[in-house]
């Protein structure tokens, strides 16, 4: 008797709730384009934010709504982006691949140290503790905050303590740009081949006292570049990328330190006049530098 009563009560309760839920589902139903789920399924689901949306789901919604092009996803292989565009019947879009680039070439074999930093191995901690001891106050500290921030294993630290970006793996997600306390990273389209690998605003001789590969602002590249492509701003050669069509290997040729380089096919090409660095080991700490 007791068992039957309990079964009847629980069964009745379940039935009543099921009816309420069914009615609620009918009345409160939100019509959603089923293609959003399909597109999300096709996306890489890294939620990296490189496309500008707060995650892959938001990007799928934007694509379906026609507010974004599938090619804006820099993580998907191009074939997958083309497939998504085909599936939705929208334009693929024409997004040029961007990569993160470091505006410093001062590894520990060419850049001098005034004092040794011992402490939490993080660039940001070193900046809080008097700047980290590097003589150049704009240069890379080499404590790998960017390497830690990269979710795609695209950044590795080389033997001289400089981060190297693997252009194939880099999806331009902006994480390293945010992580670097010295703002040395920026996202650049791969067609920007002429690159000034220095951020020092110090004057000529002072740059050389701190680092052997810094930009001294000697303006030889300015003289060699056509049509105002390069200008000197605050003692630093600056490339005007709106005139990128004029870029060639010519301006790098006479650079005495090799601070301005040509980046193509995963190689860094320095000019003929750039001083050759054969030193491999780190420079000693020198408080008078």
């Amino acid at each position: 008797m007791n068992l039957t009563g309990a079964l009847l009560f629980m069964g009745g309760l379940g039935l009543t709730l099921a009816v309420i839920l069914t009615l609620a589902n009918r009345r409160l139903f939100v019509a959603e384009d089923p293609r959003i789920d399909d597109v999300e399924e096709m996306l890489p689901k890294t939620n990296c934010g490189a496309c500008g949306c707060p995650g892959c789901r938001a990007f799928a919604e934007a694509c379906v709504a026609g507010k974004a092009n599938p090619a804006q996803c820099t993580v998907s292989p191009p074939a997958m982006s083309a497939f998504i565009a085909d599936f939705l019947g929208v334009e693929l879009g024409n997004e040029e691949k961007k990569v993160a680039r470091l505006a410093c070439a001062g590894g520990n074999h060419v850049a001098r140290m005034r004092s040794a930093y011992h402490g939490l191995q993080s660039c940001r901690a070193a900046v809080a503790a008097g700047g980290g001891g590097k003589a150049c106050s704009w240069g890379c500290l080499g404590l790998a905050d960017c390497e830690v921030s990269c979710d795609f294993d695209a950044i590795t630290m080389d033997r001289n303590g400089l981060p190297v970006v693997d252009e194939d793996k880099c999806v331009a997600c902006n994480d390293c740009v945010v992580a670097c306390p010295l703002n040395l990273f920026s996202l650049q389209p791969v067609s920007h081949r002429l690159w000034v690998a220095c951020k020092s605003l110090a004057e000529g001789d002072e740059v050389l006292a701190d680092c052997e590969v810094g930009c001294t602002g000697c303006a030889r590249c300015v003289a060699d570049a056509p049509g105002g492509l390069i200008t000197i701003k605050n003692n630093l050669a600056t490339v005007d990328y709106t005139k990128n069509a004029l870029a060639s290997k010519l301006p790098i040729q006479r650079c005495p330190t090799g601070a301005i380089v040509w980046l193509q096919d995963h190689t860094v090409e320095k000019g003929a006049a750039a001083k050759r660095i054969i030193r491999k080991e780190a420079l000693p700490v020198d408080p008078t530098a």
Binding site: S115, A116, H118, A128, G130, G131, E203
Partner: protein
């Protein structure tokens, strides 16, 4: 039994905090002495909290000691005065104690000059309007000499609706090793009392308390000797404890009030000023002079002649150390005290208005430190919770910082109330660099907020 009832009595101090070895015996008994002028002074245009000063000089120009060489750029800024008679060499980017290079005026000192301070019109604060006093204080270029370098005249202009009834003069100097404030109280009590009266007049305050710690009773006696017993100014010693010298801790100890999170002391009717700044104000104000030198404690086991020295602003650290017998490297230097000071990365860094101490360690100590600097996982012992004077939870904050969950630290665990006193790192038995984590988190959050502001505008 009576110990159990202790919480019922006003304790005259704040809760939590630590008591590190004081190490003040190196310099506490040594009178303030003058150091010679360096051949070249480096004067950063941004020595204070706020907008950098605007240079008034050009290379090659001759300046007289005490003459303004840079003017204030707006209200949140102060002028800069020439610390010596000489010639302006150039204006260029020079390294500072914080690390990045900032525009600085380089002054070549005339070696044979008598270095008389330029004479200016006398001023009498008793007949001046509060508004005029605030302007005159800005003209002295005075900032908080305790380290934060917050412009004093800004503190004298509390926000609308705040009335300051009590001025607290902060002479706690809770940092180990430093004795600058101690010597100033002992040697310049008259300037200190005059400065206090100027501050009271500018704020319309009824009374003032000079607060110091119980390890400086001789300073209390020296000031009391110059005070009437029933006047509006009194001296009070509170228990020696770190960080007693933080303004929130001092307000709690002397007045028993808590300054609400994110608010100025003026929101509870208080104005808190550093004792060295107040004495400097008392000395400068009657003669319309500007800040051109300050007392610096140069101390520590790594220096031959420790002491309290009157140093012209802009003297490079390397020059001071050479005068006082030091042969080590820049690895051993800390600008300020051992708890909150920052390491100095270069001997070319100048002493600025905010630098009150220079601690010199030895290579042996550093090597020992590096050997001991091993960090183990958090064992949740809560010693940091018992030490944090802001009643935060450093243990939890540290775990979140390790995972880079900075927004959660700010939103749920009040990271921004942390003023980086370092008590948590000091007591941590696992050697976790907690305060360093918090500095990283705070700098990341500040940068992110700046980016969001830039994106919004």
């Amino acid at each position: 039994m009576f110990d159990l009832l202790k919480f019922l009595r006003p304790s005259g101090t704040f809760s939590h905090g630590i008591h590190p070895a004081e190490n003040k015996h190196f310099t506490a008994h040594l009178p303030i002495r003058r150091l010679p002028f360096a051949p070249e002074l480096v004067l950063p245009l941004s020595q204070h909290f706020g907008a950098p000063s605007e240079s008034l000089v050009h290379p090659g120009q001759e300046v007289v000691r005490g003459e303004p060489i840079a003017k204030a750029n707006g209200f949140m800024s102060v002028p800069l005065h020439a610390p010596a008679t000489g010639r302006i060499k150039r204006i260029e980017l020079m390294p500072t104690a914080k690390g990045p290079r900032t525009p600085s005026i380089l002054l070549e000192v005339y070696p044979g000059d008598s270095q008389e301070v330029r004479y200016d019109a006398p001023r009498d604060y008793t007949t001046m309007e509060p508004k005029a006093i605030v302007q005159a204080v800005q003209d002295t270029g005075l900032v908080g000499l305790g380290g934060a370098a917050f412009p004093t005249h800004v503190k004298l202009s509390p926000p609308q609706g705040h009335h300051v009834h009590t001025v607290l003069i902060n002479g706690c100097e809770c940092e180990p090793f430093l004795t600058t404030d101690h010597r100033v109280m002992l040697e310049y009590p008259e300037d200190l009392i005059r400065g206090t009266k100027i501050l009271m007049k500018a704020l319309g305050a009824e009374r003032a308390i000079i607060g110091t710690e119980e390890n400086k009773m001789d300073a209390v006696a020296a000031i009391q000797a110059h005070l009437p017993t029933d006047g509006p100014i009194s001296v009070q010693a509170v228990p020696t404890k770190y960080p007693q010298g933080a303004e929130k801790m001092l307000a709690k100890a002397l007045m028993g009030v808590e300054i609400p999170s994110g608010n100025f002391p003026s929101s509870v009717g208080l104005g808190v000023f550093n004792v060295a700044s107040t004495a400097e104000l008392g000395a400068l104000f009657p003669h319309s002079r500007g800040v051109i030198e300050r007392v610096v404690t140069v101390t520590g086991p790594g220096i031959e002649k420790p002491g309290n020295y009157l140093v012209p602003i802009g003297t490079p650290v390397g020059f001071i150390l050479k005068q006082l017998g030091f042969t080590g490297t820049s690895n051993c230097l800390i600008m300020g005290g051992p708890m909150m000071g920052g390491s100095v990365a270069s001997l070319a860094v100048p002493m600025t208005k905010g630098s009150g101490g220079l601690l010199v360690l030895t290579e042996q100590i550093l090597e020992q430190q590096q050997r001991d600097a091993v960090s183990y996982p958090c064992i949740s012992c809560a010693q940091c919770v018992a030490a944090c004077p802001m009643h935060l939870n450093p243990s939890q904050l540290g775990k979140l910082a390790h995972k880079h969950r900075y927004e959660e630290m700010q939103g749920d665990f009040h990271l921004m109330d942390c003023f980086e006193c370092g008590c948590c790192s000091y007591v941590c038995p696992s050697g976790i660099p907690l305060v360093q984590y918090f500095r990283i988190a705070k700098s990341s959050l500040r940068e992110q907020a700046a980016r969001e502001r830039a994106a919004a505008s």
